[in-house]
Amino acid sequence: MFFLGLGTFILASVLMLVCLVLVAWQLVHKQTEISALVRILTNLGFGLHTLSIIALLIMQVSQDYSNSYVVGVINPALPTYLKLTALWGGQAGSLFFWSWIINLCLVIALNRRHILRDNWGYLFALINLIFFSGISLFLENPFSRVWQLTNGNLIDSLFSPAEGAQVYSGLIGTGLNPLLRHWGMIIHPPVLYIGFGAFLLPFSETLSHLILKGDGEDLVARLRPWLLIAWIFLTAGIVLGSWWSYDVLGWGGYWAWDPVETASLIPWLISTGLLHSMFLQQKKNIFRRINVILILGSYLLILFSILITRAGLISSVHAFGESSISIPLTLFLLASLVLSVGLLIWRWKKMDSGWEFESWYGRDSLFLYTLVLLAAIALVCMWGLLYPLATGAFTGNEIILDRGFYDRAVTPLLVLLVLLMAVCPLVGWSVASLKKLGNRALIPLIAAVLATVAAFVWLSKSWVALLSIFIVALGLMVLVLTTIRDLRTAEKPLGTFWKMRSRYGAFLVHSGILLIMLGIVGVEGLSQSIVGTLIPGDKMPLGDYGVEYRELTESFDSPEYLSVRAQIDLWQGDKVVARLTPGQDVYASRSQYVSIPGKHSTLAGDFYTIMLDYDSMMGYISLQATINPLVNFMWIGSLFLCLGAAFSLSSPMVLEQANWDRKESEEDEETDAD
């Protein structure tokens, strides 16, 4: 398996280099069309790369402990699916997997022929593939083996490190960290990687466009499906990570502004801005420069995010730890940045779309404010990430910005952004009149005020929470009323709804953002918590709930750990509504335990319990119970983000859309006239 895996990987890498030479040779001879030979070799290379991945997977499942990576991530007791997913459980394997994902995206793009249509685009994508494959091959090789020297010492090496050394397979690993054995965490990396990889293609295509044509026209229309797909995966990846930390880490946190989380949020913010500005280009052929900058920026920031995660520059819970790849990765990022900026400057004049800032409250301007706010949040995140590095480099003492920094700097920007989003559908495409705006806003405003008053009476007195609830209610009402108004005036409501998928997809995404905001208000502003030590039969009240501790159970469900569970009845009024089983999985061999929360989820919120400690002799436990109101709206909202974008994706940007909007703006003018 070692020879099969490494051999196919080396062959695949050689084929990549051959393609590189072929393409470069063609480009020197001014041929931009991708040749059939290159297509065949690329597909062949991908096949070999896939075989190599399969070989590693076989080693993982068959527990080939002569492989160092297997020693690191596998242990005999792991169930088979975890032995497979351990492919991305450690540094070497996940880098290898990442290079394969890039290859996958490249091959799909090449065979679909909508994107990467010329040698330049292919070249840039290929260079990325070669770079990451090279890192895998030379710096973090997943096929590296364990060798025993003649003096008995063990060494990690690909080939025999000294004369007389023998391959050794007696090291048995401890396996994947139990905290990571959760399906949210299992699918989080591949989903995120696909999102990352899918951004590479628009990036390469845009560089090629800058070289060959450079006026920025007609670019985003072609890239739109890829950008949407990439955005959906990036969003899903971030949400899965957040959901995992809420569900597993035990303290109910969903977002901690950890550097790695923050680093993955930056490309998300920038690409979200891109989805907005590219819409304007498709509609009015403006914002061409901004779009090109945002496409290039999204992928560069993804490289930056990979650097933060992989290089261990910043202390973080997620980081893979120190590694040798930080310097090549930094250089690669810098080279890509220089190339992008250089091409941008070269083509800057040609990309002018002649847009003029006309009105403070026209829809163009609202889109521009959206971009500014998204970029501002991204800048805050960047500042927070780089501040410790900069102070460390200049003063020798790292100064860290904590969570309070993000809470303080991001909250006002986020509130403004969501407010802008809430009122945006009220404003027409042509310069809107204030009077008309007032008429449309009346009902949503009344509803929002009522919701806020209700929240003030029953829920919270915090003004940030109240303001947020006001915005959420306003935004949802505006979206619902606008949809109703659209469909009532249409001749065939259902047909219109289907035709205008991109519009209602966007509405769905926006309502998702509003629901997420509602969830955040619930967790941040309204949650209640209590801690108590209980013996069997004890009751502890919290809100309108009560928990009753029945007994402590212990079982060996798996050879690896002992499951300790507290059996708890959850009372609401005089009824038992759920049986909760918070507990700990105790991994004696690792001297580690993992808290397993017991949860009762409803739309109104989660009742979340964690067993902090137990005594199996005495039978007592100490239990923390928390009510997180509205938290599930966060996950429902996140689902809306992905569904809405997918719904929008299913519709090509067609002429009907433009016609519709013309109709809308005519209608605007009519009513303006009265």
């Binding site: 020693v71 364990v146 003492n397 790292e398 904590d402 030590t533 902090l612």
Partner: protein, 162 residues
């Protein structure tokens, strides 16, 4: 073709930049922490008292004391270097942590925390602790973050290092 500058846009831009700058500076001012090692903390004890700090050290397993009824948690951490590169040169994080805990002469500091005990708090874990020094020289933590480098890194040295 010369266009006259769009003053609306320029003024708007300046206002936005000024607002963002203000936001960044005020948020930065009130939320900074120094990242320090145990030795650095001990040597500057008097100046640092009461300031918001973040420190990193190796958890000494036998010192962990936890009262689940009151959620009072205390443990001792031993000196590890703050520089990533130095740690790599010394043989990797897992090795540095193990040696720090075993070394009786390593600088040590007591941490006190009130809250849920983290799952990963155990012997030879790396603790990254946020909080401040009190008058008795005990580090009062407001936030704990634990990292456990995998053991196998230390079992298997890379070929380069031999």
């Amino acid at each position: 073709m010369k266009k006259k500058p769009n003053y609306k846009l320029i003024i708007g831009g300046i206002v936005i930049l000024a607002a963002l700058g203000y936001l960044l500076i005020t948020a930065t001012r009130s939320n900074t922490q120094y990242f320090m090692t145990v030795e650095e903390l001990l040597s500057q004890k008097s100046e640092l008292e009461g300031q918001k700090l973040r420190m990193s050290g190796a958890v000494v397993g036998e010192s962990i004391q936890y009262d689940p009824a009151t959620l009072d948690l205390s443990f001792v951490v031993a000196q590890i270097p703050g520089d990533h590169r130095l740690i790599e040169e010394m043989g990797g994080m897992a090795k540095v942590l193990a040696e720090a805990v075993a070394d009786p002469n390593a600088a040590r500091m007591t941490i006190h925390y009130n809250g849920v005990k983290p799952d990963l708090l155990k012997d030879e874990a790396q603790a990254i602790v946020t909080g401040s020094l009190d008058a008795e020289g005990v580090f009062q933590a407001t936030e704990l973050l634990m990292k456990c480098p995998s053991k196998y890194e230390s079992i298997l040295p890379d070929q380069v290092e031999d």
